[in-house]
Symmetry: C2
Subunit: 490 residues, 2 copies
């Protein structure tokens, strides 16, 4: 056996064990009996210890030294194995353990502080988290590197914070302006009535399959938060229902279907290899977003969906496809990122990006975080935050140490804009198909040009390969400007 083959065999077992850890997470959110939590904690940490030992196994360094790649795919395998190995070895084991312990405590404190609307009780533990993350960032970045940049690599490898800032700075003025003009107009009419949960679930299963989700390699279950989990031949999604808001179930399912189809459509030659899953959080989000927004909330598709809804729920207060399209794309004032519409969502993200970057670069301290949040929110949204649970305490991310993750949400939207522009160029029948509930033209294009390649190329190159040009903010801005100008008669 060559060193390359030995390394790949070792890696394959690690990938298989990683899949198991992922499935345990799925089980915890969907099936696990409540009282099993303490035992599950021990199981997960035993599994993490096994994975950490494998990912930092010194034999990897030995194999990497002599392994020879004979083509671009093998080069990519080695590139990813090297990246993961070096990343794992850079963070001292003690620091990793302390971080796990402190973030676990901080998550509880955050939930309590949010319930109590009491930022002050959360500040001390968040200070600890921030200090540890800065330390981790220093360990990860080379001596003179940027701490926050090093963190972004965990979620969007090859992209720098400066590049992201440039992109966001170009996007933000246009978004603030468009949002202001839309909100001066009368609001769209919403749905009303009671939407049977079972019927919602049946409809969303149909929708997921209409987007190409393969049920023989997946399943849909209910969970508190919708998510997508797993990879390769076993990619599961979850959803939730709300009796008076069917769009919650429908669009979160289509969103997760985008994630799931990406995983399901990766070339099976990459199964259980370092290229066998979505290349980055940003590119992953581009898939979930294009399924959800550019396709799922399009005039064409919502026209078809309107008929599906009428057939299942009868009269729900909306009489025409046009009014339904407006309801699906309604723009409201609000404080909460996860409830934000397509137009305002990125403003929520950019706020977080700037604040967390400043925190990591020690340009902002935790004590000043709430004020900084509130100032920025009022500047972008035009009204003040009314309570911490609608402001700085709304997201779990910082409490669990996720710094560098937020910007990938908006990168995903920017990438989705680029992909949609190329898709319209290459698939002339797109709107006609969507108007009949047919997504295969779009999903085949995405599979062929992006999804099947898995982690072969770096994130930006993945988008550029699919669209033929470097990703930039213009296609998204143009798409939003056109869509909402027309919808709101600007």
């Amino acid at each position: 056996m060559t060193a390359f083959a030995e390394l790949m065999a070792f890696q394959r077992e690690t990938e298989a064990l990683g899949q198991i850890a992922g499935r345990l997470g799925w089980d915890q959110e969907t099936m696990m009996p409540r009282g099993a939590a303490p035992q599950r904690g021990e199981e997960m940490s035993a599994m993490e210890a096994v994975l950490h030992a494998r990912r930092s196994d010194p034999r990897i360094a030995e194999w990497l030294e002599v392994a020879e790649a004979t083509d671009a795919v093998e080069q990519a395998y080695l590139r990813e194995i090297r990246r993961s190995y070096e990343r794992t070895c850079k963070v001292p084991a003690d620091l990793a353990k302390t971080l796990a312990r402190v973030t676990s405590e901080a998550q509880g404190r955050w939930a309590q502080a949010r319930a109590d609307e009491d930022v002050a009780t959360f500040v001390p533990v968040l200070k600890e988290v921030v200090a540890l993350k800065r330390e981790e960032g220093q360990a990860l970045s080379d001596a003179d590197g940027d701490v926050y940049d090093a963190m972004v690599q965990d979620y969007e490898k090859g992209t720098t914070a400066a590049e992201i800032a440039q992109l966001f700075d170009a996007l933000r003025p246009g978004l603030v302006d468009l949002r202001g003009r839309v909100l001066e107009k009368p609001q769209a009419k919403g749905v009303r009535g009671h939407f049977d949960a079972e019927k919602q679930l049946q409809l969303t299963e149909k929708l997921a399959q209409s987007f190409g989700y393969q049920m023989d390699h997946g399943r849909i279950d209910k969970a508190v938060h919708p998510f997508c989990s797993g990879g390769g031949l076993d990619v599961r999604i979850t959803t939730r229902t709300s009796d008076d808001d069917p769009f919650n179930c429908i669009y979160s399912t289509i969103h997760e279907t985008g994630h799931a189809c990406y995983e399901q459509n990766i070339d099976k030659a990459y199964l259980l290899t370092p290229l066998g899953s979505g290349v980055s959080m940003g590119v992953h989000e581009s898939q979930s977003r294009i399924y959800e927004n550019q396709l799922g909330r399009s005039r064409a598709y919502t026209g078809w969906l309107f008929e599906q809804m009428r057939a299942r729920f009868g009269d729900f207060g909306i009489d025409t496809p046009e009014a339904f399209y407006a309801a699906v794309n309604a723009v409201h004032k609000g404080y909460i990122r996860t409830e934000a519409d397509e137009l305002q969502y990125n403003l929520h993200v950019m706020l977080r990006f700037d604040l967390e970057r400043a925190l990591m670069q020690s340009d902002l301290e935790v004590e000043d975080l709430e004020a900084a949040w509130n100032d920025r929110f009022e500047a972008d949204f035009g009204y003040a935050v009314d309570k911490p649970s609608n402001g700085v305490l709304q997201d779990v991310h910082w409490s669990v140490g996720l710094f560098g993750y937020f910007p990938t949400y908006s990168l995903g939207n920017v990438y989705a804009g680029c992909l949609y522009q190329a898709l319209r160029r290459d698939v002339p029948m797109l709107e006609q198909d969507l108007a009949n509930g047919k997504t295969s033209g779009a999903t085949s294009w995405l599979k062929n040009n992006l999804q099947q390649h898995g982690g072969l190329r770096m994130p930006v190159d993945t988008i550029a390969h699919a669209t033929g040009e470097e990703p930039n903010h213009l296609p998204l801005m143009t798409y939003l400007e056109q869509k909402f100008s027309e919808l709101y008669d600007l």
Copy 2:
């Protein structure tokens, strides 16, 4: 940290990983999408490799050499860790791998041969399995040890094949005789009608809880075969329904509830230790059997169950509690072990025990197995096997290398007999309680006298501790003789 503490910490992680492997098995039978099977195979084998490496880790030998136990519980921990370690090290890794490969192939061949009613196509691969198992048995037994005895240790440690044979030889004539007398009598009337699957599941969940199954540490799902899986704080069971036979669902659920309550009721001080699960297959089966038969099929309990059934299913062709008791305990002719009643079940098991023991001791060859099966069946049951799927091809066990497992089914019944005798002695209100659907007197006795102790004592000592005397065949024989004499008016 002392050597003892280090060893226990290492063992605890291994136990946690073992729980994960078990939950993967559960997922495979209940939740896994069909198309995920090939990937799951790799995941399972990666997990098995991790577990094998830990169980044969040379540090265990070093720890064991110097670890000191300070009480009986710690002695038992060390006893079990030593047993497992020595067992794992005795079997050469190559042999274990070959066995895994050949049994995996043999299982497929067995399923095909059974479908085709063609023993001849199964013989060659079964010969391979038997040869490998004999080799494994030689590796496990010390040079002059008994190959089959060594195998029994995997399922019923501390018990020899000779002891089992003595027990079975004492039981068999009485069973053959009682069975003959019962089958001369008119058969009990069966149920008729259509039994709604959803209602069956609701009823069985109620029954499981009535036997003390804790739903906050477990769950009930549908699967092709009923089973119990997991341990500690997460013990799950499965069941199945048949539209025209509600007893299938009811009694397989009560059976699995017995297994599950044993696991759930083990002292939490033993969680994730070598004493934290049921001590042996035989003792486990004693719990499932006493819940299912001595309690669940008793006149008292079936009287209560009859009312539960009537309330849910209306008229199902049986008018009195007495007729219902007879239907639940009907004795029919049949070929299949898994469908056999309480009276005939052990005859099926003893047949297998004698044949597999002869196979392992090279007193019988695979070519002669079918004839030996058919001769023995006719001798015990009085009629000839009509086709291989009703005879030598009916069970999966031998194809997957399970030799030494079968006798634990009947050991369980013998132990259940002993426990029931003691239970009646110690819980005078037993029948009155059961007649009201109350099992807490019985289940508390089982928990206090047996279940809570987990793997503290060896299997025979576990039963002796609970009952106050060495286990023997007489209580079971007396119980069956009384029950069926009265039922069939012998």
